[in-house]
């Protein structure tokens, strides 16, 4: 026998609304429930160039369970400012949350999601075991790659480009023995004359 019980109509006797919300807290039409598919988003962030910022940003993404594909960071023309390019894969509400949480960090100066047509480059170094270095070279050329090191048994090729291009290049090299691959994350900039400052890109969001 439990104590603390209270009077009042039982659950099934109470007023109850028809509606429902989905996992993201958005009201839904139960008959046409829309689910948000994950998509890739490229975030460009200007942050104060100070110790601990990278750890702060990467910690944020892991503890809030944002699905991060890559994160690159480097200096800018301003000594006090670093630029991060972060590629995430999230459903729409997650992309929005990630941007807001990133903006909330005190060292963050500005965060923008880049347009799909933004310039986006990655770099890969692919070490290939090759008896015939010329064959490797010709495959590399197909992807505008270049050999940056050659030894009797191995050639290392540098490839720059989109993720898809690098994926394709590595696949093409599979005809040889790919010994090692190292890849950077994406570096990306918006096309056109506009530049990003503390207020984001001039075009805004």
């Amino acid at each position: 026998m439990s104590s603390g019980e209270l009077p009042g109509p039982a659950p099934e006797e109470r007023m109850r609304p028809e509606g429902r919300r989905n996992e993201q807290g958005i009201r839904i039409d139960p008959e046409a429930e829309a689910t948000h598919q994950p998509r890739y988003a490229v975030l460009s962030a200007l942050v104060k160039h100070e110790p601990g910022v990278l750890a702060e940003v990467s910690g944020l993404f892991s503890r809030r369970q944002f699905n991060i594909e890559s994160l690159t960071v480097g200096p800018t023309t301003d000594d006090g400012v670093a630029r991060m390019t972060i590629v995430i894969e999230e459903p729409e509400p997650g992309v929005e949350q990630a941007k807001k949480q990133l903006r909330k960090l005190i060292p963050t100066i500005a965060v923008e999601e880049l347009q799909p047509e933004a310039m986006r480059r990655e770099l890969a170094l692919v070490k290939v075991r090759a008896e015939k270095p010329d064959d490797v070279q010709s495959v590399a050329e197909m992807y505008n790659g270049q050999a940056v090191d050659a030894s009797p048994n191995a050639v290392t090729v540098e490839i720059t480009g989109s993720k898809q291009k690098i994926d394709a290049a590595i696949e093409a090299f599979e005809q040889f023995d790919v010994e090692e691959v190292v890849r950077t994350g994406a570096a990306a900039l918006e096309r056109g004359a506009e530049t990003m400052d503390a207020n984001g890109y001039a075009s805004g969001e």
Binding site: S2, L6, G8, A10, R14, Q24, G25, K104, T108
Partner: protein, 591 residues
């Protein structure tokens, strides 16, 4: 306590380089440590809570010449909770101090607590000298790394010339926008090093821009939605209190006759004595609040993050409602509940904007009558007090009768905390001091100390559980030493009662590690600390014991032996539908 291990030289680096101070009055900065303390003074700090230790000694040495009163706590966790409570009742950041290593890690729970509840607090921690950082030196821990996710911002103040500025900025940031904890880690060499850089007045960094007023177009749309609502409700969160918007909210709710529900941290933001008040919503909220929140068609949420203990399952949370979300932190918009009308800004100013835009009250007579019916149908009640054993609800209710109207209630975490929510009547802001978000057992004893020192003219009563009390009871020594007039009421059921309740409800009564086979006699324990102890077992003694404890000028502890089987209802199971709250164990089984 390893941080005061006597076999270790507390001053491992050369003792000869201590600054020779002879200028008590000038308060000119000569060292990094003095810059830190003068920065606090400039910010208006007059009290700090902490525990000494090796790496923070230079900072304490600078306190020697300061007017800042330092309260030595028994444990750093107590210092953090006391500073947190001080911040809640005063509205200004409380200051917690600890040494490096275990001192800093002991603060962590309290910092996380402040972070979850957006309480203003600044922590100063000692750190090993910069040359030793990264070497796993004695009492070294990566304080900045550990506290990064639980602070608004933290600082490694390795440069004596900027150390004062770091403290100033940390203070300003803790207080600004959505309040919260900040931390400055002070390596010993930087604290001891000479500097003549005077601290600047507290300013937030140039990257920090909390929103002030909401977008006019959204205000217009939100006002229209509110005017056209048939079943409007206001959900008043902790942000109403933190943002000093309680007067504006009262006027607003009364002018437009909109029923008001509070969250737990929002208790006191709207008077529970008002006809429009439906009480607290959520897991152990009132029937009326939970039915209103479930069935409303426009929900005006102010300063709330729609925490899971409030919403229950998101799918069934206010599913028919257009949500107007007034919030100062953009990251809270659409985090848990989608906002149809996001109103970013300071709660008070956004309410003014809404008030300016609204031309008429929503036509909601029928809805208000419905809410009134719910209030009558679902009273918070308990068995008649003549029955034995003692009912905890009766103790809370009687104490509320005796207490001053603006008395401050602090609590531990568990069943007693819920009874303190339910059976005390909150009418004023900053009267509810609790661990709402983090749920820290042990918050009660030290929080009362911070609350009393932050609001010396107000009555302070702490409802604690026997389990919570056991976690931080050593701080009673501080209450006695500082001669603080606090009444501690332990609602003693010889168990971690909320866990026991869940085991009975959800784990087939398998009471694993929730009941204490033996616990101390808390009245005698209190006496040994130098406090007054009372044992309370009978209903007819309740008023008398409360009177005596309140009359005692100093800390008093009432060990109230309550019905160990008493449970907290109503109850919405975790992730459940707020409108389907259980009123008893049988209903809980069917949900």
């Amino acid at each position: 306590m390893s941080e005061r291990a006597f076999h270790q030289d507390p001053e491992p680096d050369s003792p000869g380089d201590e600054a020779d101070d002879g200028s008590d009055d000038a308060r000119e900065v000569t060292t990094g440590a003095e810059a830190a303390i003068i920065a606090l003074e400039e910010a208006g700090v007059d009290m700090a809570f902490g525990v000494q230790g090796g790496a923070i000694m230079p900072v304490y040495d600078a306190l020697y010449d300061s007017d800042i009163e330092h309260i030595t706590m028994a444990h750093e966790q107590g210092a953090a909770h006391a500073a947190d409570a001080y911040g809640i009742v005063s509205g200004d950041p409380g200051v917690a101090m600890a040494t490096s290593g275990p001192g800093a890690t002991n603060l962590v729970t309290g910092i996380a607590d402040a972070s979850m509840d957006s309480d203003p607090m600044i922590a100063l921690t000692g750190q090993v000298a910069t040359d030793f950082v990264g070497n796993d030196a004695f009492q070294e821990v990566d304080t900045v790394g550990i506290t990064q996710p639980i602070t608004k911002q933290n600082y490694f103040a390795g440069d004596p010339d900027t150390l004062g500025e770091d403290v100033s900025e940390a203070f300003a940031l803790a207080d600004a926008g959505r309040q919260g904890p900040t931390l400055v880690d002070l390596p010993k060499d930087a604290s001891k090093a000479e500097t003549d850089v005077q601290p600047v007045s507290p300013e937030t960094p140039d990257t920090y821009h909390p929103p002030e007023t909401a977008d006019e177009a959204v205000i217009e749309a939100a006002a229209e939605a509110l005017e056209e609502a048939d079943r409007p409700a206001i959900l008043s969160g902790g942000g109403v209190i933190k943002g000093e918007a309680h007067d504006e909210l009262r006027a607003f709710a009364r002018e437009y006759e909109i029923p008001v529900i509070t969250t737990m941290p929002g208790l006191g933001g709207f008077p529970e004595t008002d006809d429009l008040s439906l009480g607290m919503a959520g897991m152990h909220g009132t029937g009326a609040a939970n039915l209103a929140i479930t069935n409303c068609d426009v929900l005006l949420g102010i300063g709330t993050r729609f925490d899971d203990r409030l919403t229950g399952g998101v799918d069934s949370f206010a599913p028919d409602a257009d949500v107007i979300h007034v919030e100062i932190d953009p990251a809270e918009i659409n985090k848990n509940i989608y906002a149809d009308y996001p109103l970013l800004g300071d709660a008070e100013r956004v309410l003014e904007q809404l008030d300016d835009e609204l031309t008429e009250a929503p036509d909601a007579d029928e809805w208000r009558a419905q809410c009134q019916t719910w209030t009558e149908e679902y009273p918070l009640d308990y068995e008649t007090p003549e029955d034995e054993p003692l009912k905890p609800q009766y103790v809370v209710e009687r104490f509320a009768e005796h207490a001053d109207d603006d008395a401050i209630v602090t609590t531990g975490v568990g069943q007693h905390q819920m009874w303190a929510c339910q059976f005390w009547t909150y009418t004023e802001p900053r009267t509810w001091v609790s661990s709402n978000g983090l749920g820290t057992m042990g918050y009660g004893v030290p929080s009362a100390i911070g609350a009393k020192l932050g609001a010396p003219d107000r009555e302070v009563v702490t409802f604690d559980g026997d389990g919570s009390f056991l976690m931080t009871m050593q701080e009673l020594s501080v209450a006695v030493r500082e001669d603080l007039d606090i009444t501690y009421v332990i609602l003693n059921n010889e168990a971690i009662g909320m866990v026991r309740q869940w085991q009975d409800g959800f784990y087939e009564g398998r009471r694993m590690a929730s009941e204490y086979p033996w616990i101390p006699e808390f009245d005698l324990l209190a006496e040994s600390f130098g406090a007054r102890g009372f044992r309370l077992e009978e209903h007819d003694e309740v008023d008398d014991v409360i009177k005596k404890a309140r009359e005692y000028d100093g800390p008093a502890v009432i060990d109230a032996i309550i019905d160990p089987g008493e449970n907290v209802y109503p109850m919405v199971p975790s992730g459940g539908d707020n409108g389907q709250f259980a009123l008893n164990e049988q209903q809980l089984d069917t949900l």
